[in-house]
Symmetry: C2
Subunit: 125 residues, 2 copies
DNA sequence: TAAGGTACTGACATGGAAGTTAGTTATGAC
DNA sequence: GTCATAACTAACTTCCATGTCAGTACCTTA
């Protein structure tokens, strides 16, 4: 998968007023940068996960929030849900092509946060 | 400015359990991916802005939220605040080096959101 | 026989994020 | 003399994201 990024179009997009309030890009941005959305996308960027694995990987998430987050991302076409009719139930979640695109952009961001966390929060004292 | 990104360290960071709950990276990530934080960083990635300019650029933001967001980003050492002792007051905000680093990662994300918003929210019907 | 894993859903509660309104400071414009 | 402006702060309120708890269906293991 290749993530294409044309700086000219980027500039055009951000040029005047950035995103007006209520514009769809805001909604999308909110979904993918949401507290739990980021973590789920990051986990899935590595490999497919099943429900219970995600629950452990996104440390601290409640079941309700995991369900909600996955539903949103699935509706957005970023996450693919595949349930197998077995007992006990087994559901696998993976990224769609679009999902892979965002995840690829999210990973460097998370890495940056991880590497700079100390320095940044250190300023605070 | 060059943003260095070493995929090996990235993998190490994300390898086990991603970010544990309550870990500082989560806080940092929350700051830079917050609803208004993203918009402010994007605006400043272009050029220095004064308060009232940011207020217009981050369409829909309240004064309270702008103040709060800027204060957080300033404490994090991502945004530099320079006030001039003139009447009426004039305060300019710009990115620090760290700020430029994150902003550089945020721009492609925002661009992606902008370009894919229609497609993504279109799924929804 | 009862306890536990799996993938959920729904009702209810709450805390923190966000909005609203008003006030401040000092000056220049009318 | 009073209105506007710029960049805020503080108090109060509202609302939504999130948490908590309970329940479901079916099977496996102890």
């Amino acid at each position: 998968m290749e993530v294409s990024y044309d700086p000219l179009r980027a500039t055009a997009a951000l040029e005047n007023g950035i995103f007006p309030a209520g514009c769809p890009s805001r909604t999308v941005l909110d979904h993918v940068t949401s507290k739990w959305g980021v973590l789920v996308l990051l986990a899935l960027s590595e490999r497919e996960h099943r429900w219970s694995e995600l629950r452990r990987r996104a440390d601290g998430i409640s079941e309700k929030m995991l369900a909600q987050t996955l539903k949103t991302l699935e509706q957005d076409g970023l996450v693919h849900r595949q349930s197998q009719p077995v007992i006990p139930p087994r559901v696998d979640y993976s990224l769609t092509d679009s999902g892979q695109e965002v995840a690829a952009l999210l990973v460097p961001l998370a890495t940056w946060a991880f590497e700079n966390a100390e320095k940044i929060l250190g300023n605070r004292n």
